[in-house]
């Protein structure tokens, strides 16, 4: 049964809605997600959160079950590997505990401030649709999350950066997102910029004036400069040797260390660059709008 298509004038409605869409887009992009559009997003998040949470109560066990079935064959081998890894990690943890206690003692003697970064554990509440790599977490302003906070996984691998924050939720733009850029330091110490490509398998890396080539297996870590992101966080791994060409390295032979598609829980680092964090570089002024210093939103 198809309704009478002669009713109404869809072309006029189409023109009106297209114009409205362009106005909304222009307004949202120009206001960089603040102002009225931020209010709309806050309202939408507040409305959708209970529905999403209720749905996840049903959905998560099903997806976990599917995940278990899909990985059934590899679970036994994985279990054995994890047992041996657990033993190793326990030994390392005991050693690290001793070192931490020693470090605390020395800091107390020398009257140095602690270097622990406060963090918040959050759960991924929802993801975007196709061609949208961002995701929403269930912690926001009320929990102390601010724009620019880095988000890591359980292994301290950088997943992304908080782009928008609402009272009880926040939107994270992942490192793999096509609008994402993170300053990193190579294994040899050269500075570069890691660019998301929207792929869970590849990232782009640009190093200007490198002193050394890249070697397969090198881990790229955050530089800790100008981005509100602490230095030393692992981000990506170099897949193959890359030699400088024309005074630069511009390659996609880099893979992210973690795939946010598989993440369920994340850790938000409440980091704000301390004056002594980057002693050799000029630091950005602390903004007055509640954002972390040195951050920019795409």
């Amino acid at each position: 049964m198809v309704p009478d298509r002669r009713a109404g004038n869809p072309t006029m409605v189409l023109i009106a809605l297209v114009v409205a869409s362009f106005v909304l887009m222009t307004f949202d992009i120009r206001s960089q997600g603040e102002g009225l559009t931020s209010t709309f997003r806050t309202g939408a998040q507040a409305l959708a959160a209970p529905l999403q949470d209720a749905t996840r109560v049903v959905v998560d066990p099903i997806v976990d079950l599917l995940d278990g079935i899909a990985n059934l064959t590899s679970l036994r081998a994985e279990n054995g590997r994890l047992r041996s890894e657990l033993e190793t990690l326990r030994a390392e943890a005991a050693e690290a505990g001793q070192l931490r206690a020693e470090s605390e003692l020395l800091r107390t003697f020398l009257n140095l401030p602690g270097r622990e970064i406060p963090s918040i554990v959050a759960e991924i509440r929802s993801g975007g649709g196709p061609l949208d790599t961002g995701f929403t977490i269930n912690r926001g302003l009320d929990a102390g999350v601010v724009v620019g906070n880095p988000v890591v996984d359980e292994n301290d691998v950088l997943l992304g950066v908080v782009r928008e924050v609402f009272p009880t939720s926040a939107i994270v733009v992942p490192v793999i997102g096509p609008t994402s850029g993170v300053e990193v330091v190579t294994g040899a110490g050269d500075l570069g910029v890691l660019q998301g490509l929207g792929s869970t398998e590849r990232l782009g890396l640009l190093v200007l004036g490198p002193e050394f080539p890249l070697f397969a297996g090198d881990i790229l870590r955050t530089s800790g400069r100008n981005q509100g992101i602490p230095g030393g966080l692992q981000v990506a791994r170099v897949l193959s040797d890359v030699a400088p060409s024309n005074g630069q390295i511009d390659t996609t032979e880099v893979a992210p260390l973690t795939d946010p598609t598989f993440a369920r829980f994340v850790v938000v680092l409440q980091y704000s660059a301390a004056p002594d964090a980057v002693p050799d570089e000029p630091t950005d002024e602390v903004p007055t709008d509640g954002t972390a210093p040195g951050t920019s939103t795409p």
Binding site: M1, V2, P3, D4, R5, A7, G8, N9, P10, V13, L14, L17, V18, A20, S21, F22, V23, L24, M25, F27, D28, I29, T37, F40, R41, A44, Q45, A48, L51, Q52, T55, V59, D60, V63, L66, R125, S126, G127, G128, G129, P130, L131, T133, G134, F135, T136, R163, G177, P178, T179, L197, G198, S199, T200, E201, R202, D259, T261, F262, P298
Partner: protein, 167 residues
């Protein structure tokens, strides 16, 4: 009849938005990523009048924009255009499953391509994404399969008619 169709189309739209941002965002790890909001817009246009069909597309797009990271209005524009295409082409397809499959695949393909192109124009870098080709090809396929599953219950609820052809 019209009020009933509008009510159920809005119900399916809300359901689709919630499922898209929860269930299907998690199923993406299995490389399963339909765009169910787009699908609801395409299918609802079969049983709604043209104006409500376009407004449904716009509303669905705005809802996804508000809950995602794309600029507000981007998906609204895409879904409005797809709803218009759906309204304009619904009479050209015979009411049978094969026709439904083809129309869902073609209109979904139009939607994803538009999203990629407009996303790139508005600074989202969608066409530069490493997975863009896979997404453009797979979303219509999954939408086509889902259309075969959900079209009949949607028609029954929106038209209150069990008689006649399957679709």
């Amino acid at each position: 009849m019209r009020a009933r169709a509008i009510f159920w189309s809005l119900f399916f739209l809300v359901l689709a938005v919630v499922l898209q941002t929860t269930l299907f965002s998690r199923l993406a790890q299995f490389r399963i990523f339909p765009d169910v909001v787009l699908l609801v817009v395409i299918l609802s246009a079969r049983w709604l009048d043209p104006d409500p069909a376009l407004l449904l597309g716009f509303t669905g797009g705005v809802a996804v924009d508000l809950l995602g990271t794309t600029p507000l209005g981007l998906r609204a524009l895409v879904m409005t255009l797809v709803a218009y295409a759906s309204v304009k082409t619904v009479d050209r397809f015979d009411l049978n499953p094969i026709s439904l499959l083809i129309s869902a695949v073609v209109l979904s393909l139009l939607g994803v391509v538009l999203l990629a192109v407009l996303g790139t124009l508005f600074g989202q870098g969608s066409l530069a994404e490493g997975n863009v080709v896979r997404t453009i090809l797979l979303v219509p396929v999954f939408n086509g399969i889902l259309a075969l599953v959900v079209a009949t219950p949607m028609r029954r609820l929106m038209t209150a008619s069990n008689a006649g052809a399957m679709l």
